[in-house]
Amino acid sequence: MAKGEPLLVLDHVTMKFGGLVAVDDFTNEVREGEILGLIGPNGAGKTTVFNVVTGIYYPTSGRIIFDGIDITPLKPHQITHLGIARTFQNIRLFQDMTVLENVMVAQHHSISNPDGDRILKMNGKKPKMNGKFWFWRSVLKLGYMDMEKKMREEALNLLEKVGLASLAYEKASALPYGQQRKLEIARALATEPKIILLDEPAAGMNPKETEELMDFIKRIRDEFDLTVFLIEHDMKVVMGICERIIVMDYGRIISEGTAKEVQNDPKVIEAYLGKEWEVI
């Protein structure tokens, strides 16, 4: 797929919880290779968009197409296998496991996800699993140790690239906050995604850490050939790295365009008035 082509398409997606419409007729796309920002006041429905894309909720109506495959009815583990990875707004690491183990968990689907492979094959794409019967092979140690070694090396390699290698054997819970955010991104990268959804990656970071994070996001985009879709409240991050921005309010898209364009959109100013606008 060429740069700039739509990679993830949301087509009239609506998500209702009882009477509450969290996402209302959301139609837009994420283009291959771009860094797209999703902003809006609290409760605008941004995280719900991520949850619908990754299969935590099934949308009430509408369709979601990823890389030419309709992923609307798929389960989270299948969607991840196809190449969508995410981080969470409130860090959800496997706290009692080491940094290395956290990353290696994310590699597991490459030996255990026939469900995802089936979808790939049905759509004429190359399956991603490395062989079959890995449960028995891992318990009876039939050719498993080589696989384990390979996964381990790849994981350490990845940690090296994101600068967490020295902490590989620490418990995730022992990491400082900023590093935990970084580990969440590393873990998402370990699933070998085409697109990564970052849910408020700069939340709780100081200005210096935020600065680093912005470079980091740009760097991983280039190094891993990624598309980035991020939710952020810190306008410095959004305006600094996002090539395109979508603004949501009350579940609807109210504006879309470059940083300049949305900044000057009166509807955006109205939505933010007296809230976070003064941050910029």
Partner: protein, 358 residues
């Protein structure tokens, strides 16, 4: 820094330990009295029960209370296969045994395997609906299924002999069978837990949603853990039946009480620790036997003669200890740590360096 031994060293060390333990068991088998030998075997049986429940509850974080149901299935299946046709004809006095079972007769190994497989199949069937629930609902539903299994055993008289139970089961469970199966269980579950699959199971325990979003089919993995646990529960059931020699579907022998006993073992040893399960099982077996003395006449402080405490006191003591552990010492003996060669190596080298520096 991660200090690790080479795989080869670890394999050799493990083999050495197995040989030493086997030799010790051989000595025990030759020289211990029959009563102590029975307790020794019970430790292995409890060990298998605790390991299999800890895989489900501690490692995967599925709070199942249905273990006794799977043990019951293993126990009945195996016992019905090792009982001789004549013995079966004699025992079934309320209703004759169904014809196809009457003449089915196999050796202990096959009977145990059959018990394990049938229990695994039951775990598969039970897991299908139960694993869709979460947390405490799952606990109650699994307990409920175990009760359903027990009620069926109580009423399917032409298969199980109902409330009379099965008697005169050959006492096949000896040191070799018990510890042989314990070794198989330990290797299987240990190997599983230390593999990529084990990491996935722990990830599910830590955060189900995050695990799902990292590409893990949570339901399938939970079911896998449930079925493996069910298989070894069935195996332990067979060993238990051929240790008890009499089984019946009462509340206390193969009912919820047994599940609670196993729960005590794994909580004592540490929920989520394989080595802890073994320690917990051994401690529990020894403690229960030691407390038996309380119920016999004994001399308090070597002077005051007492008649012993009333029957059941040891269970009361154990349950009090259990509650106390939960309130004051939730991590148990091992927490989630393991005794592995790498950990021992690290510990020893730290000890050595400490000596040098000090």
């Amino acid at each position: 820094m991660d200090r690790r031994l080479s795989t080869k060293t670890k394999v050799i060390l493990t083999l050495l330990v197995i040989i030493v333990v086997a030799f010790l068991l051989h000595l025990a088998d030759k020289h211990m009295d029959a009563y102590k030998l029975r307790i020794l075997n019970l430790i292995a049986i409890y060990g298998i029960m605790a390991l299999s429940l800890n895989l489900i509850n501690g490692i995967t974080g599925i709070f199942s209370l249905g273990h006794a149901g799977f043990i019951l299935i293993g126990a009945y299946t195996a016992a019905l296969l090792t009982l001789s046709p004549e013995q079966k004809e004699m025992s079934f006095i309320i209703q004759p045994i169904v014809p196809w079972l009457a003449h089915l007769h196999t050796n202990f190994l096959f009977a145990t395997l059959a018990g394990g497989l049938l229990a695994a199949f039951a775990a598969f069937l039970v897991g299908w609906p139960v694993l869709r629930l979460s947390g405490d609902y799952l606990a109650i539903a699994s307990l409920g299924f175990a009760e359903v299994i027990r009620v069926v055993a109580l009423n399917a008289i032409s298969i199980t002999n109902g409330p009379l139970g099965l008697k005169a089961i050959p006492e096949y469970t000896n040191v070799w069978w018990a510890y042989g199966w314990l070794l198989v269980t330990l290797l299987f579950i240990g190997s599983l837990v230390s593999s990529s699959y084990g990491r996935a199971l722990k990830a599910i325990r830590e955060d189900r949603i995050a695990a799902e979003e990292m590409g893990i089919n949570v339901f399938k993995h939970q079911l896998l853990s449930f079925v493996v646990g069910g298989f070894f529960a069935g195996v332990s059931g067979s060993l238990y039946a051929h240790w008890l020699t009499t089984i019946d579907p009462r509340l206390t022998t193969l009912g919820p009480m047994l599940t609670f006993y196993i729960l005590i073992m794994i909580v004592l040893g540490g929920l989520g620790s394989i080595s802890g399960s073994l320690i917990g099982a051994a401690l529990f077996a020894i403690l229960v036997e030691w407390l038996r003395n309380l119920e016999e006449p004994f001399k308090l402080f070597g002077v005051i003669q007492t008649n012993g405490l009333p029957k059941g006191s040891r269970i009361l003591v154990i349950s009090a200890i259990f509650v106390a552990i939960m309130i004051f010492w939730q991590r148990g003996i091992m927490g989630r740590n393991e005794i592995t060669w790498d950990n021992l190596y690290r510990w020893f080298s730290r000890l050595r360096r400490g000596e040098k520096n000090g």
